[in-house]
Symmetry: D2
Subunit: 403 residues, 4 copies
């Protein structure tokens, strides 16, 4: 039993911490304003990217050592945590931002040579971005049986028909690729009913309907969530990712590590919140006493520290199960962290906001935007309720009499 | 002991419920979009106002029966609750929206004839709106000793110098009056140190600095919160409200009923959330089962009902203490509801959002905007922490040995 | 809307508060020791009873004005609250202790003249006590379909066969009567399947199996909970209470007011805990500071006050619904308070225990025994889970489309 | 980073699990009854001890490899967890029960040869037991400045005068040694004000005043908590443990590993509760549905699993900090687990009790007794409030500007 990070991780952490201090925090506020006013990616992002690349902090997320850094999940997790301190800037600067990360993983694992050439390499270079189109309006997307978008074979082509929403990244101008999941064989059993296809963002029939707001925010770190109509979009068979009917398998391969990354960034966000809380509490007085000296403030700080440290260990352990036994074996571990991490982060952010008062929900601190991301994570990639069910069933199975 | 509303209240409730159904809910979504896109008050608001007036639903908040409806707090509370079902539309439509309500109360109680003529009557007519400038950047505003804005006598005038923020209503184009609290005698003991003056929004030296966002929302129901600089703003002595040095007394007179109104609207918001939650749970299925039939959903619904009913009774009792013994006697009762009501509302809204998933935080439901208002109430008009201290001290005083 | 108690209630409250101070609190500690050591009712109880009777504080619980005080539920509730300050002494001293109260209500409402003569009058005099035998081992008693005790007609007699546990009051030496619910017609539909019979405690075949401990406590206020075997106990037909098959109806008639009483006593227990917490916090220092001056202590005190006041109002409102519309109409109100009141009391007691440290769970304060009673109430008379379901279903029914 | 136990730990875990199944669980219920009825240690304990010894499961707690098993904290922690499944039987059977463990550690580290001969060896053999006398009535024992027991030099002797309570183990008939902390030099600075002496239980002037109940339990796993008067108890100078004035240092050396053990047993208790909860939920039906199939039950099971797994990792990490950096460096880690572990255990136990209903608090399950132990841990060895303060101060220190 050993709770220390290994040498390579520590070296990358040091490098990344320096990058955050030198390059990320200084531009954070300005980037947020720029996005809020123009709705576009800040121009200076390109510079950050090349700087990150220069420092060896590029594509760290990708376990494939040919295309990416070749880190294990346990190695990458502490780095993802650090990017969570500034989730609207750092992940993209390192080319480690969802949904591109998941899409790159899929392309690296299952893409044909042509697909890699056209989509994976530009993504790895950070030249284009991509969206992932899964959730559909009007139905509960935690249950895949509800999916209605059709991917119909028509001669040598596929025709995509349907509507998706909450497609992260869709609205960014750099978004060139839509990774779309749909029903390719409605009569097949669930596990071979779905396929995933690669749709160019400018394909005829792709209609971006609108942006979706999250608690009033219109443009998230990823360029915003969008609603998109696929109006008989015709794509060649070569646009199919992996096998026909392999959609479920591909989607699941994408989810495990993605959730680890999400959860580790959550932890970074919680640490950021705790730092902001503490530094404010040390500066601010009310009724002749520093907030930091008040028992109620101290209680929350202690509780935050205890919760964060626990959940980080749980996420790292889940990462280690993925590394040693694979994502499928780690399924309940991943459900567990998916419930636990956002809850902690939301809790700490709430307390930090309270210490800042009205300022804490304004544009003058990053707290409100971080809070929205944490709140969102309680239903994105499966609501807490479903993940709890997964964990409970596994637990009950252990206690079931052997008969 | 009698838990029923009286006949006048019931009649007004019936009238108001009809108005909500006929006029308010149908325009709610469109108003929200209009505000989000243009940042302005929807044009149709004028029609709603005249309709409300026609139906006898005008200025219900004002206990003064010459200028307003002459209702007690216990009578008005259930009506304020109903307006809370649509807080971005209904309160203004009834001319019962803060901060105008508090400002009108102050003017009715303490205004000179000239002040009433110039400001109170147009406000009562709904022709102008007003802002309340109290909180200041950089200091904890829960402790009045931190206030820095100066109101300095200069010959026959006052000169106002300082900066305020979170001035509700400031940014609306209809805002004609700023009610400003500041330090008029820095050497006086706290209770006679402050004064309140009436500053025309277009007075030279009044500079609107910027709008403050609440989470991602830029324009709340009130036309937005703003930051404003008073750059040696010169006003005549007749602009003083009440006595010089009476600022604290006036501010407190304003707060008691205002908090009752806030809390009752909170309860309406919680009821709205519960209705949305239930109706969604009755429609939506996941894994072959209606959400409404799932134990976890039912648990939350029951918990919501139990919490709402309790806190409503507590608010009504506080209202009855104000009516029978005055706002000062009700001080701890008001602190109690100020803590309890927003917490319930936030809780119910959180659960409703969870049932809607991502849709629940988007512009497609009113939940996110309601949630932000509830969250805000945990620090606006005094943070929970201060109100809890007030309640605790009173409780401890009861148990202190008499000697 | 009027939140004041009426004159009769206020007069009885004053009388009862004096009785508590003069007679109850002084003997409380000694009674607890006596019970713990001997397992018997303290000898001095008889004196308290006659004193209570002398002061007009006798049988206050019974709405029937011929046999009891003739108070409404709203009038009795604040008195029951006061007895909750010392639940191991006061309720019995006033002849208002369960399960006798419920049994007396049943006998007053449904008993034949002979049954009243034999059982009701001695109970009203406080000369005997009684037990209520409902719950059975090995099955979930929240679902009546699980009941297995048989009440079989045999010629002119009934024969009772089965086992009951958690029969409150069973083990007290004064216990003369067992009110037993069982299946009289297994083939009948649920609502006419059960009957209630009156079994003398000394009837042949009644075998007291053992006492049941509650968190280590062997003898509660009521003389202890017991397990009892009915081994073909033969009783005459005149021992049937009400109609044959009327068991469910009778049991429900018993439950409504009983739960109001329970909940109001819970509130008294919470007030007692808060008083103990505050007085300790005012006396005790740690690290150079009185606990009463620490923010965390104040937070809890405020939270306790806010919770208690809310839940009291909810219970009183439920009482008023029973008074005006009957117990059936108040069904969800009663479920609501049954969930809400014990939760508040348990919470306050937990905080009080924490302030006392180890002493708080010892025999040196009443806190531990009070806590056990509060905890118990989360499943006795139906677990929280079932009551929440009742509340949720009613709520959902309101929102169901009318069609 | 490696989350696996090492080979020696795994081997001992297997051995211990077999011992629990073969020897401990079968006698658990009978031991509890015996203790409840006779107040004495069950006779069969001797047999369990020799069996444990035979299996190599003896004195596992002692890091000293001459006298004990020589395990690190990380190695011992998972074993302590397993003993927590049956805390009233297993720890004593393995000679790993507090307060003996802490006392043996002190004697092994600081005892003279004579002291080891007389006290350590019989304790290591399990022939005698011991008590630890620290807490005093009437003062907050979380602040050592409150201690009042005097250890006064008188010629060649010490005279001990004072009163202690909550002296764990005091009342067991096997208790031969009292380890007593008191003030040896009232004028010295705090860190050299206290000394620890070894008082034979049968020394003249040692008067056992009474047993203290925990909730209703009179005899805990350790033979009960007692109150003891030291009435001018005279002991020779050779009875001093370590240096004069070294009391604080010794007490702290005792606490670190002791809290790790406590916390790991807590986790075992939580696992036991979860197992009992699951197995009951799989067996029990209500309203036609197994509890295990109800969403609310599943939610609690998942939450329990997630909480337990997190807190175990936190405790193991604290153990690893003690192993690698010493108990002093681990101070805030230990405070963190001292708050976190009992809270989780209490929570899971509460849910398990709820699933069992009234049975869950009776003598028919171990849940109530386990719950009392968990609740106790929220103030024993320092209340949560103090440990949170420790954690918060360390956290704030990190964020304090460097100046």
């Amino acid at each position: 039993m050993d709770f220390r990070y290994d040498a390579r991780t520590e070296a990358l952490r040091a490098e990344l911490l320096a990058f955050m201090a030198d390059e990320v925090y200084p531009v954070e506020h300005q980037f947020a304003d720029e996005r809020a006013e123009t709705g576009s990616r800040p121009a200076a992002m390109a510079r950050l990217k090349s700087e990150a690349r220069r420092r060896g902090l590029w594509n760290l997320f990708l376990p494939d050592s040919e295309y990416g850094a070749g880190l294990t999940n346990v190695q990458y997790a502490p780095l993802a945590e650090i990017t969570g301190w500034s989730p609207a800037v750092a992940p993209e600067a390192l080319n480690c931002a969802p949904p591109d990360t998941g899409n790159m993983e899929l392309l690296a694992l299952f893409g044909t040579e042509e697909q890699r050439e056209r989509w994976l390499f530009p993504l790895l270079e950070g030249k284009i971005r991509s969206a992932y189109c899964m959730t559909e309006p009007g139905v509960s997307s935690s249950d895949p049986a509800n999916l209605g978008t059709a991917i119909v074979r028509d001669g040598d082509d596929f025709v995509v028909r349907g509507r998706k929403w909450w497609s992260t990244g869709l609205l960014g101008e750099e978004c060139a690729l839509l990774v779309v999941m749909g029903v390719s064989d409605p009569d097949a059993p669930p596990k071979s009913r779905y396929s995933i296809v690669l749709v160019p963002a400018d394909a005829p029939g792709v209609r971006k309907v609108r942006g979706l707001r999250m608690f009033g925010f219109t443009h998230g770190a990823s360029g915003g969530h969008g609603e998109v109509e696929f109006d008989d979009v015709r794509i060649p068979r070569s646009a199919l990712l992996g096998e026909e009917g392999a959609g479920t398998k591909l989607a699941q391969a994408r989810l495990g590590p993605g959730r680890i990354h999400h959860c580790m960034r959550m932890i970074g966000m919680a640490e950021r919140a705790l730092e902001l809380l503490c530094s404010r509490a040390l500066r601010r007085e009310a009724f002749g006493k520093r907030l930091a000296d008040q028992g109620t403030t101290q209680d929350r700080i202690a509780e935050a520290r205890v919760r964060i440290d626990q959940v980080r260990l749980l996420v790292l352990r889940a990462a280690s199960v993925i590394d040693s036994e694979g994502a499928r074996a780690a399924r309940t571990d991943i459900s567990a962290i998916k419930v636990a991490a956002p809850a902690v982060t939301e809790w700490v952010l709430d307390k930090a906001i309270q210490v800042y008062g009205a300022e804490g929900m304004s544009q003058d601190t990053p707290l409100a935007e971080l809070w929205v991301q944490a709140r969102t994570m309680r239903f994105i990639d499966g609501p807490d309720e479903v993940h709890r069910m997964v964990v409970a069933r596994r637990e009950l199975a252990r206690h079931r009499p052997a008969d």
